[in-house]
């Protein structure tokens, strides 16, 4: 009897099957996660830590590096242009992000209404975001050019200015122009993402708010805004990261000029690393972006976190 039971138990014990093993949650989960992890480690993690290593060296192009500790960061600290770059980056990021946030929300609210050619308008809205940045920036270069600027032409034709403003020659106007172009390019991203968020808000909430006596502003303040908060947080976080580390737009339009008035971290780091061949110093400038960026995102995460109700 015992022998029979043992034999049948042996028969019932499943043979090892690769297919079944792979289907186990623990194994399958890791398999799914492995490719992106490998991808991130190889293409983000490795360059990041290599960048930290280089920033601690006096590493000139085509020469071996010499470990210098924090010397590059100390040199940055004493470099007045570096502080100008810090100020420029903060002004550029803050102004452009705020404009994109307010403009994008407004645009999303308009797009959420019913009107003719709504779908076509929504598709056209994405154009600035779809066109490659370098191409659209070259178009802006023409728009802001003193000789060919359509803006200046209009100003002169209407007698408002003659000659028109120097959009890229005046240090303040150059920064203003870059913020405007960045806003123009980034607005659709905000608008479309917030529009998607708006469409998930149940209409019953608006009806209930209306019955409770809420007007247009009340509905926006107490229904729309709180429910959009998580999306505003995500989209603002992305926008801050992209704007803070912007390169193409500035490099094409001004290359950081006039007199460093529009240099930001990415353009300055590139000039130092690739132009001057000072990889160590370039890496230290680029890495200086990380702590303020991390702090901004942390502050945003705290301020914009969803209420616990």
């Amino acid at each position: 009897m015992t022998a029979v039971l043992a034999a049948s138990a042996e028969r019932r014990r499943p043979a090892f099957s690769l297919g079944r093993w792979l289907e186990r949650e623990g194994v399958f989960g890791w398999l799914m996660v492995a490719p992106p992890v490998v991808f991130l480690v190889a293409l983000v993690g490795y360059p990041f830590f290599y960048g930290i290593w280089i920033s601690l060296q006096d590493r000139q192009v085509a020469k071996p590096g010499v470990f210098v500790g924090l010397d590059n960061f100390i040199a940055d600290w004493h470099n007045p242009v570096f502080w100008q770059v810090v100020a420029n980056t903060f002004v550029y990021t803050t102004a452009a992000t705020l404009l994109k946030m307010v403009g994008g929300l407004g645009l999303a609210l308009v797009m959420n209404q019913d009107f003719r050619f709504k779908n076509l308008t929504r598709a056209l809205l994405l154009l600035p975001f779809i066109v490659p940045t370098v191409l659209s920036t070259i178009a802006w270069q023409w728009i802001l050019d003193p000789a060919f600027s359509v803006i200046n032409w209009a100003l002169m034709q209407t007698g408002l200015a003659n000659p028109g403003p120097s959009w890229l020659g005046n240090p303040y106007l150059a920064m203003f122009s870059l913020i405007m172009v960045n806003t123009w390019r980034g607005l659709p991203f905000y608008a479309i993402t917030l529009l998607a968020g708006l469409q998930t808000i149940p209409p019953e909430l608006y009806e209930a708010a209306t019955i409770d006596g809420a007007g247009r502003w009340g509905r926006f303040r107490y229904v729309t805004l709180p429910l959009l908060k998580p999306i505003i947080f995500i989209v603002t976080m992305f926008s801050v990261i992209f704007t803070f580390s912007d390169f193409q737009l500035i490099y094409v339009l001004t290359r950081g000029g006039p007199a460093n008035a529009t240099h930001v971290f990415a353009t300055y780091a590139f000039d130092i690393a690739m132009g001057a061949g000072q990889f160590g110093q370039g890496a230290s400038i680029a890495l200086s972006m990380v702590p303020p960026l991390a702090l901004i995102i942390l502050a945003m995460a705290i301020y914009l976190r969803p209420a616990k109700s």
């Binding site: 000139q60 192009v61 085509a62 020469k63 040199a75 004493h78 470099n79 007045p80 242009v81 050019d145 003193p146 000789a147 060919f148 000659p163 120097s166 959009w167 890229l168 020659g169 005046n170 240090p171 150059a174 001004t254 290359r255 950081g256 000029g257 006039p258 007199a259 460093n260 000039d271 130092i272 690739m274 132009g275 001057a276 061949g277 000072q278």
Partner: protein, 430 residues
């Protein structure tokens, strides 16, 4: 076709792939059977026939002569330094490359010593211009073969200058200022780049500084001397020159801006390479008729120009140094180099005296000033020897921004102090 594929079993496919791979390894290995190949990297030339000539004429001719295939790898304008850096850092990529400025110094260890062929070429070509050696001789060794200078000179409108009473280009900066004031009043301002471009800013601001006796650093490469009366006079002149002859936008200009402004008849004078006249002849013949080019004006301490050399170097990682040097030697022989210079009609001004009276100078006499300017041309950082600090000073636009900030309204003392501080930091770190 679909049926054939379906008929093959997975095992058959594997067999066929394995055999094909083995066949490639045995029969198709480039190391064994393919002809030798050399790759020359160049920045896309402003003169398109110049690049086409290498591909269509030089490469086939050299392959016919030696069996070595020549690949001409053209990279976009402004990206050559990045590509040279990548090749040098990874010790792979092209065998030869075009270089500029002080790259022979920056990549010293990564380039082959070509002194032997440089001396031969010099001897054959009637001797090198002194300025040719300024950018390629590192520690007594030639690290590249100079090909030509892309000079930066004064481009001006003869008709408008004539209306203002000038039959020839003013000889001194002060006379040019005087002419500029009259021309601006007549609605024809000057336009000189003061922004963060690659070359048209350096092209006139360094010569201006030198012509007033100003320098960044002494010939010892250590003593910072930017804070001098000479620099102050150059800065004061520049501020006045900007305010009284130009308009605000020049402060933000990059290299294309002055070309566009000149060709669209917005400005009467600028500092540029031969490209303005070249484009004008092609697309704006009426503008070309009234455009001339002249050497930079003289200052109290003389006349200067910027050296903007195009040279060829052999990467140390190239497996066959001799083959690469032989190609370079062949390329610089009068039969080849002469034809290459001719194609670009003096856009690249030869550094060899044998070409001083070459027929190409007669094709467009208005270009002759570029040849004469070679005698007084220097690299930014002159008279100091080649150094990495030179590159850093350029990348940080120290001298350009000193002038630009003064033009934007800062005091002379302040802008010189800023430049002095930056230069001290840069040269101390060297």
């Amino acid at each position: 076709m679909a049926r054939i594929v379906r008929a093959s079993s997975r095992r058959d496919v594997l067999k066929i792939s394995a055999l094909a791979g083995l066949g490639t390894l045995i029969g198709g290995s480039p190391g064994w059977a393919a002809p030798k190949k050399l790759t020359l990297m160049h920045e896309s030339s402003f003169i398109p026939p110049y690049d086409a000539y290498v591909k269509n004429t030089f490469a086939p001719a050299y392959e016919k002569l030696t069996g070595i295939k020549v690949d001409y790898d053209v990279v976009s304008v402004g990206s050559l330094l990045t590509r040279v850096t990548t090749a040098a850092e990874n010790a792979s990529g092209p065998d030869l490359t075009a270089i500029g400025f002080n790259w022979a110094f920056l990549f010293d260890d990564k380039f082959v010593d070509v002194s032997d062929i440089a001396l031969e070429i010099g001897k054959e070509g009637g001797g090198w211009y002194e300025s040719a050696q300024e950018s390629v001789v590192v520690g007594g060794k030639w690290k590249a073969i100079p090909f030509g200078n892309i000079g930066q000179l004064m481009n001006w409108r003869t008709d408008w200058f004539k209306e203002a009473g000038y039959d020839k280009f003013p000889d001194t900066w002060d006379e040019l200022l005087e002419a500029g004031i009259k021309l601006k009043k007549a609605g024809h301002p000057f336009g000189f780049e003061l922004g963060h471009g690659f070359g048209d800013n350096h092209g006139w601001l360094y010569p201006l500084l030198w012509s007033y006796g100003g320098r960044e650093v002494e010939a010892d490469g250590k003593t910072i001397v930017i804070d001098s009366d000479e620099t102050a006079r150059a800065v004061d002149f520049c501020r006045r020159f900007f305010k009284e002859t130009m308009f605000e936008d020049c402060l933000g200009w990059t290299d294309v801006s002055n070309n566009k402004a000149f060709l669209s008849e917005q400005i009467s004078c600028t500092n540029n390479a031969e490209s303005i006249l070249w484009s004008a002849k092609k697309d704006f013949p009426e503008v070309a008729k009234v455009t001339d080019q002249s050497e930079n004006p003289k200052g109290p301490k003389g006349r200067f120009h910027m050296l903007n050399p195009l040279c060829h170097a052999v990467f140390a990682h190239t497996p066959d140094h001799k083959a690469a040097k032989d190609f370079l030697r062949w390329l610089m022989a009068p039969a080849q180099a002469g034809a290459w210079y001719d194609i670009a009609v003096t856009y690249y001004q030869p550094f060899l005296h044998a070409y001083d009276d070459a027929p190409m100078w007669k094709v467009e006499p208005r270009n002759l000033a570029y040849r004469d300017a070679l005698k007084t041309a220097h690299l930014p950082g002159w008279p100091a020897p080649l150094s990495r600090a030179q590159s850093e000073t350029i990348a940080k636009f120290v001298v350009i921004d000193m002038f630009a900030k003064a033009c934007a309204g800062k005091s002379t003392k302040e802008v010189i102090a800023d430049a002095q501080g930056q230069l001290k930091q840069i040269y101390r770190a060297t």
